[in-house]
């Protein structure tokens, strides 16, 4: 079997698990998480420097080989997302951006319309845009038109660890959208990441479920393996599920009559 390559934004990766840097009780565990998961793409956020207290720099813990994927968390409108994206690029860590536009603080669901607007602007400026959206066919199509590099639909609301509640919609996106589909948000267990990959998702992004595990390093390893297993199951084409045998031929019997 030839090597299975995950290609996005013109770059090639062997791992299909994207990880994050949020919610760790101690950032110093991040290098070991990157190693045990095999992940090659990692998200960060952009925030005001806290002038009062001295906090560690998360960048000190991100291995150099990782592709950095800054997000626009905190943005409530397309304009704010664009502003954050430009600032992130000025950090000199590449032109990848995960667009996240959320103005609903109760459910933290992404605003597809504003996200598509921001995607269009940033794609024209040469960004590799990965928008985080609801699992919605129309939004996904507008993102394709807007020049996104991938579509990142949610499995269930952010941080809920509830698995693939959007299963049927994800299936439609996987089928209809030609861009890579990266299931983001809501994946709480390796079995759920595995299922998404079995269904044909191109990759999964997992942050909370790893960061908040009692042993993040071991959980990262489990996710890395689950994503790989699901991918291999998808590529190998699962065998048929057999229903009970049909004795007679009620629908096609007429073909052998007369």
């Amino acid at each position: 079997m030839s090597e299975d390559i995950f290609e996005i934004g013109g770059l090639k990766f062997s791992s299909r698990l994207l990880t994050g840097t949020g919610k760790y009780s101690d950032d110093s565990v991040i290098p070991a998480v990157c190693e045990s998961s095999g992940s090659q793409i990692i998200t960060v956020a952009l925030r005001r420097v806290d002038l009062e207290s001295k906090t560690g720099n998360v960048m000190d813990f991100i291995p150099k080989h990782m592709q950095l994927l800054p997000n626009t968390s905190g943005a409530r409108t397309a304009d704010e997302a664009v502003r954050i994206a430009r600032l992130a690029r000025a950090m000199g860590c590449g032109d990848w951006i995960k667009i996240e536009v959320i103005s609903d603080s109760k459910y933290l669901l992404p605003d597809g319309y504003e996200t598509a607007k921001a995607t269009e602007i940033l794609a024209k400026e040469g960004f590799v845009v990965l928008p985080y959206v609801n699992a919605d066919l129309y939004i996904a199509r507008s993102l394709v038109d807007a020049g996104a590099a991938a579509v990142m639909p949610l499995g269930s609301p952010i941080g809920t660890n509830r698995g693939l509640k959007t299963r049927e919609m994800l299936r439609i996106l996987i089928e209809e959208i030609s861009l890579p589909i990266i299931v983001d948000a809501g994946i709480g267990r390796p079995s759920e990441a595995c299922e998404a990959m079995e269904m044909g998702a191109d990759a999964c992004l997992v942050n909370t479920a790893i960061a908040t595990a009692c042993d993040p390093i071991m959980m990262a390893k489990a996710f890395g393996r689950a994503v790989k297993a699901g991918r291999e199951a998808y590529l190998s084409g699962p065998g048929a599920k057999h229903r009970n045998a049909i004795a007679s031929s009620p629908l096609t019997g007429f073909l052998s009559e007369g």
Partner: protein, 374 residues
């Protein structure tokens, strides 16, 4: 982008060998897939799938019920004109066939339209030969002025046109377009269509897509099964329909399954398409494209048309005459092809109800044309 590069790619594949090499396991996998891939479609069209037709029928039947319910949309063709400049060697309207040529005048059309409307049908398919000078786009638009009074939905099955011509017809009230590629075999195509505008394979191949772009609501494609190996043409028809569905999600894509019948001429089909082949084609298509419309004409016999009701068909013609003016005058004219189900609309309606199906005379009517019927 066009469908041509895709069909060209398929034409370079050893398709007959691929059909022969399908295994039983491939067929099982195809039938049980949540969504069937083009490879699954190929497997279901292969000879290896024949022992599993009942299994395919169960799935196809369930998918049809899920997506369309127990309904069959009825329509009838109206032949406006049989002038033709093509020499399609299998067609009764072939320009070299010595048959009386006529074209309905708008006054005759009124009579014909009234005769059809009195049966209750609201979906009409108008047809002409390929004679752009005679049955011109302007002629068709003037026909629409008459027909719009009687039919909320009119489809065309005429020569291939440019996108702007389709757009003008949409404006005049046409909402559907039917075009058969006849065969997707580009090498065989010129022998079957040796002269006339239809000789241009690619212009015809891209015509359904041009009509999608022009705003047609329903686009119905098909291959005339039997011209080439039916499995190859059935495969390409499904791939073509899938291409259109994906690219034009606002268009209702449908596929017709016509097979060769006799006509005024001496052409003998390359392959005989049996009832079993027809059923296999329909089942594979339904499983591959659960939402696609499937049209079966009166080329098929009453028995066959009733037997396939649960298997995937969604549209049927009824009360058909393939002669120009055949709905209002009964004469000894020559039709485009012979029909096999000669039942009236009323008889067809009763037959459908007997089988537990609702005959649908009017599926929709566009609103907002700012026109008032007086």
């Amino acid at each position: 982008m066009s469908f041509y590069p895709i069909s060209d790619e398929y034409s370079k594949l050893p398709l007959l060998e691929k059909f022969e090499s399908v295994t039983e396991a491939d067929v099982h996998r195809a039938i049980s897939a949540t969504t069937a891939s083009p490879e699954d479609f190929l497997a279901m069209l292969s000879p290896a799938a024949i022992p599993f037709l009942e299994e395919m029928a169960q799935k196809a039947s369930q998918l049809t019920l899920q997506n369309f319910g127990k309904t069959i949309q009825l329509f009838t063709p109206l032949y406006l004109s049989n002038y033709c400049t093509n020499r399609c060697i299998y067609c009764g309207f072939n320009t070299t066939n010595d048959i009386p040529r006529t074209q309905l005048e708008p006054s005759q059309l009124e009579e014909e339209a009234q005769a059809i409307a009195s049966t209750g049908l609201k979906h009409l398919l108008i047809l002409t030969g390929d004679a752009r000078k005679k049955a011109s786009p302007q002629y068709l638009e003037s026909c629409m002025e008459v027909l719009s009074k009687y039919f909320p939905s009119v489809s065309i099955e005429i020569y291939a046109m440019d996108e702007n011509e389709y757009a003008s017809l949409v404006k005049s009230g046409v909402d559907g377009m039917t075009m058969f590629q006849e065969t997707y075999n580009e090498e065989l195509y010129p022998t079957l269509h040796p002269a006339g505008p239809k000789k241009d394979f690619r212009y015809r191949l891209d015509a359904p897509e041009r009509s999608c772009k022009a705003g047609m609501r329903v686009v119905n494609i098909g291959a005339l099964l039997g011209l080439d190996n039916w499995r190859k043409d059935a495969l390409l028809t499904g791939i073509h329909a899938s291409y259109l569905q994906k690219k034009y999600p606002d268009v209702d894509v449908a596929v017709s399954l016509p097979r060769m019948r006799s006509h005024a001429g001496t052409f003998k089909p390359a392959s005989i398409v049996s009832d079993q082949d027809m059923v296999q084609n329909m089942l594979a298509l339904r499983i591959y494209l659960p939402r696609v419309g499937i049209t079966v004409s009166t080329r098929e016999s009453p028995d066959f048309r009733e037997n396939i009701l649960p298997l995937g068909v969604t549209k049927m013609s009824a009360g058909v005459s393939t002669e120009v003016g055949g709905h209002s005058q009964k004469g000894e004219k020559v039709g485009q092809f012979d029909i096999s189900d000669e039942r009236s609309v009323e008889e067809m309606r009763a037959a459908l109800i007997k089988h537990g199906y609702q005959p649908v005379f009017k599926d929709w009517e566009p609103i907002g044309n700012n026109e008032v019927n007086k």
